[in-house]
Structure formats: structure tokens, C-alpha cells
């Protein structure tokens, strides 16, 4: 069922713990005569995972760009981290983006920078953090994604999977509260996909980052929704089948021709009788 701003009792203090981290209310977007999104409404709660599924060109990536303010909607409102971003100026958006991270489809790494410079870019350029602290944080996040030894390499010398993991490390470096993933596993082999999925789960559960994932890779989507990361008493991290409570914190949204065709849990998606969903899942 479609919700409106009134359903959330807005205007509300979205920064409050109970309030949605992201809220789309009847968002519409068209490029000339081509309609991209129609009446898209959804919300994302703190610490939850939202997974957008849909065919290529359905408008999934556009939703992430709208959240970041890289695009403006034609109508509707978008709230992110307590701020209405659809009518913000570019300068104002910088403040909101400071708390967000984005992993682009092909990584979008700066090809003239080394891996370390890519990862530390935001801290070095956009914060007052001392250089020694930046280096320490870069080492920490590269260690998190298992790429410490590639610090001084250029992105062009890395494999596709390694580049995606560097992109995750870059998005993670400034400790965002909201991470957006745009098709992070597209074009990768199954083993590399699994390692990227594992990083996403670890980030969400160990760093407590709200995650929004756009993909058309069902296997990855269900893996992320149904697994959780735990740190054992010895400090080792393991990714295991998630408890029911955790599984319920992952929502699926199916985008079809710019509309929200389905919104619900992994189980609801699997048991849907909608012919389009069944075709997509088959």
C-alpha cells in the first residue's frame, strides 16, 4: 500500500531514532518524454537494508541518484537523514552527502589516484583530519576489505572485484550512516560476488550502516537479506545465516517501469503470486 507523508506524521524530526532515514513521497521524474519514475513512495529505517530489484532501465539507479541529490525530481518530496533534499542547493547538499557513501556501478574510482588516495580522498580533501589520522583510517578500511597490500597501486592494475572493494572502502572511509550500492556485483564472477556481498553484510552489521542496494542479481540480494555478520569473542568475524529478526530488517522493492511493483520481505517476495515477480524470480 502506498504511503504518503501524512502517514509518517510529517513534518516530523526525521533525525529521531524512530524516524525513517530515507523517505520518498510520490516522487516523479521524466527526461523529456521518457518517464523514469512514477509516484515512487517508500521509506528506509535506521540499520535496515532496502534492496531494489528490477530489470535494467527500470529506474533503480535513478532512485539512488535522487537520494544523493545528483538528480532532482519533477515532483514529490525526498527526505534523507532528516533533511529535505529535493529542494536543496548544491552547497546545502554537500552537508547531507557528508554522512552518506555511494558505491557506483563500475566503482567510479579516480583513475589518476592510487588506491590509498582514492580511499582517503574525502577525509583528506573535505575534512580537517590530520594526515596521520587519514593514513590510519585508510589502512583500517583497506584492511576491512582485505586490500591493505594494494595501497600504492593504481586502480587500473586491480581486478574488477578488487576495484569494487576499493569503492566500498572509499565509501566507508568517512564513517557514513547511510551507504548506497549501485549494482555492486554486476559483471563479477560468483566467487568475487560472494566476497563483495560479505563486505556489504559486514559493513551493515559491524559498522551499523543503513544500506540501500540496487541490483538485478537475485542471488546477491537474497544472500545479503538472509545473512548477518557476527564478531566472535576471539575477534574473528563470521558471516552466518541471519536470525528471523534480522531477516525482517531487510525489505525488497521491485521497480517495474518506474513504479513500485512490490514492497515486502524476502519471504513475501518468494511467495508472491504476481506473474511478473514470478518470471523475474524464475
Amino acid at each position: 500500500m502506498r504511503k504518503s507523508l501524512a502517514d509518517f506524521g510529517l513534518p516530523v524530526e526525521l533525525a529521531e531514532a524512530h524516524a525513517p532515514v530515507v523517505l520518498f513521497d510520490k516522487v516523479n521524474l521524466a527526461f523529456d518524454d521518457r518517464v523514469i519514475l512514477r509516484d515512487v513512495t517508500f521509506d528506509v529505517r535506521q540499520g535496515h537494508t532496502k534492496i531494489f530489484l528490477g530489470a535494467s532501465g527500470a529506474g533503480k539507479s535513478t532512485i539512488l541518484k535522487l537520494m544523493l541529490g545528483l538528480l532532482k525530481p519533477d515532483s514529490g518530496t525526498i527526505w534523507v537523514l532528516g533533511h529535505r533534499v529535493d529542494d536543496m542547493t548544491e552547497d546545502q547538499l554537500m552537508g547531507v552527502r557528508h554522512h552518506m557513501g555511494m558505491v557506483f556501478q563500475e566503482g567510479a574510482l579516480f583513475d589518476s589516484f592510487t588506491v590509498g588516495e582514492n580511499v582517503g580522498y574525502k577525509l583528506y580533501e573535505e575534512t580537517e583530519m590530520p594526515l596521520s589520522d587519514v593514513r590510519a583510517r585508510v589502512d583500517e578500511v583497506l584492511g576491512f576489505v582485505g586490500l591493505s597490500e594494494h595501497l600504492d597501486k593504481l586502480p587500473s592494475t586491480l581486478s574488477g572485484g578488487q576495484r569494487r572493494r576499493v569503492a566500498i572502502a572509499r565509501a566507508l572511509a568517512a564513517k557514513p550512516t547511510l551507504l548506497l550500492y549501485d549494482e555492486p556485483t554486476t559483471g563479477l564472477d560468483p566467487m568475487t560476488c560472494l566476497s563483495v556481498d560479505t563486505e556489504i553484510v559486514k559493513l551493515r552489521d559491524l559498522e551499523r550502516v543503513t544500506s540501500i542496494l540496487v541490483t538485478h542479481q537475485l542471488r546477491d540480494a537474497f544472500f545479503i537479506a538472509t545473512h548477518e555478520a557476527r564478531r566472535s569473542s576471539g575477534g574473528a568475524v563470521e558471516v552466518v545465516e541471519a536470525a528471523q529478526e534480522k531477516i525482517e530488517q531487510a525489505d525488497f522493492v521491485m521497480i517495474r517501469e518506474g513504479r513500485v511493483a512490490f514492497e515486502g520481505s524476502a519471504a513475501e517476495l518468494r511467495h508472491s503470486t504476481d506473474p511478473y515477480l514470478q518470471t523475474f524470480l524464475s
Binding site: M94, R97, M102, F104, Q105, A108, L109, E125, E126, R170
Partner: protein, 262 residues
């Protein structure tokens, strides 16, 4: 007929859109110069890339232009028995017109194309979107340092081109035209008015600005993958070269009115 009207309307609209976006970029760049954050280390890097990187091509262009001008004008001046005035002709030509325009055209080819290709590649690989997502304004990070570097370095490179041009002319005057050094340099200084020097120094500020802003504008509006990057590079060079000549004409007209009251 309707198709023709539709085509003309669409062409006019897209042309106006380009002009509007170019003006917006120039305004945003100007605002970026006077407000924070300012990426100083990028400015230093761009001064190196645009200024020092272009030094060789500007030296060669200036030198051989001055030399060939001496060769050609020597023969013409002989017809009037005015060979000793070759220095005056070279200094006036180089400082007022050839130095600024040829330096600007070299920069359009080297710097304008480089900027369009670099920014265009960043657009098609989503690096510009990544910059914005990381909280960096691409105008402040990429455009402002390049525009400032072009604005600062174009006049400096023009002075270098003028100087080596007159040196090239001097070598030819002494070795080929048998004009003594003293006569040549006296002629060089006598032929110049202070207003000419002002004109030769003021014009490159405008030319440097348009070359770099056009390169940035075309680069940031790139679409269509690697083919689009190639197209953007070509467009940047063509647009910057033509604009250099057009701007040179209008700025010269303006400066003539302001400096000479002509």
C-alpha cells in the same frame, strides 16, 4: 517546410542552451574563486600542467614566427629601402597581435583539448558523480583551478612568446638581412608605444579565460562513452580556436577605443 522549421527551432534551442550553460559555468567559476573551499594545491598543479607544460610549444611557436616574419618582411621592406625598420615591424606584430593569438591557439590545441578529454572521461566513467557523492563540488575542484591557471599563465606565456619571437627576428635580421644588432633593437623599442604593450598583455587574460572555460564546459557536458570523449575533444579545440579569434577581434576593438581613443 515543417521539418525545416522544426530543425531550425531545435538547433536554435540547443545553441541557446549551450550558451546558457556556458554562462552558468563561468558565473559558478567566478563565485568559486572568491569563496571557500578553495583547492590551492590543484591550482599549483594546473599552473604546472598548463603553464610549464606548454612552455616548449610556445617557445618554438614564438621563435619561428618571429624568424619567419623577419625573413618575409625583410624582402618587402627592401622594396622601400626600409630594411632597418624590420625590428619595428616584428615587435609591433608580435606584441600586439601574433604573440597573444598564436599563444592562445597553441593553448587551445594543447590545453583546451586536454581539459575536455580529461573531464569528459571523468563524466562518462561517473567520476564526476563520485566527486559530488563524496561531498566535493566539481566546479570548485576541477574548473576553478584550471580557469585560474589559464587566466594567470596565458599572459605569462604570451610574454615569453613575444620575447623569443623578437629574438628569432633578431637572429634572422643579423644573419640573413645583415641588419646590425643596435639598429634592430633600437627599431624594436622605437616602434612600440606603451599602449601596444598594454594591449598585448591585457588580451591574453581574456583568451586564457575563454580557452579553459570552453574546455571545461565541453568536457563536463560530454555524453556517449569513449566516442563522446573524442567528439568533445575535437569540439573543444574547434570552439576554443574560433572563439579566440572572435574574442581577439572584439577585445582589440575595445582596447583601441580605450587606449588610443580610436
Amino acid at each position: 517546410m515543417n521539418d525545416l522549421r522544426k530543425w531550425a527551432t531545435e538547433t536554435a534551442k540547443s545553441g541557446l542552451l549551450e550558451v546558457q550553460e556556458y554562462v552558468r559555468l563561468c558565473i559558478a567559476a567566478a563565485q568559486g574563486v572568491v569563496s571557500r573551499p578553495f583547492y590551492f594545491h590543484d591550482l599549483v598543479e594546473q599552473i604546472d600542467v598548463i603553464g610549464l607544460g606548454s612552455l616548449t610549444v610556445v617557445l618554438l611557436t614564438g621563435f619561428f614566427t618571429g624568424a619567419v616574419l623577419a625573413l618575409q618582411s625583410g624582402m618587402t621592406l627592401d622594396q622601400f629601402g626600409a630594411r632597418p625598420f624590420v625590428g619595428r615591424l616584428i615587435s609591433a606584430s608580435m606584441i600586439k597581435e601574433l604573440g597573444p593569438v598564436l599563444t592562445a591557439l597553441m593553448l587551445a590545441g594543447r590545453v583546451g583539448s586536454g581539459i575536455a578529454a580529461e573531464l569528459g572521461s571523468m563524466v562518462v566513467t561517473e567520476q564526476i558523480s563520485a566527486l559530488r557523492a563524496l561531498g566535493t563540488d566539481p566546479i570548485r575542484k576541477l574548473v576553478v583551478p584550471r580557469v585560474l591557471a589559464g587566466f594567470i599563465m596565458c599572459p605569462i606565456l604570451t610574454v615569453v612568446a613575444d620575447t623569443v619571437g623578437m629574438l628569432g627576428g633578431w637572429i634572422i635580421a643579423v644573419t640573413q638581412l645583415r641588419v646590425s644588432s643596435g639598429v634592430y633593437w633600437t627599431s624594436v623599442t622605437e616602434g612600440l608605444y606603451l599602449q601596444d604593450v598594454w594591449m598585448g598583455i591585457i588580451k591574453p587574460f581574456f583568451l586564457g579565460f575563454v580557452i579553459v572555460t570552453i574546455g571545461c564546459h565541453v568536457g563536463l557536458r560530454t555524453s556517449g562513452g569513449t566516442q563522446g570523449v573524442g567528439r568533445a575533444t575535437t569540439n573543444a579545440v574547434v570552439a576554443a580556436s574560433v572563439t579566440v579569434l572572435v574574442v581577439d577581434f572584439f577585445v582589440t576593438r575595445l582596447l583601441l577605443a580605450m587606449l588610443f581613443g580610436a
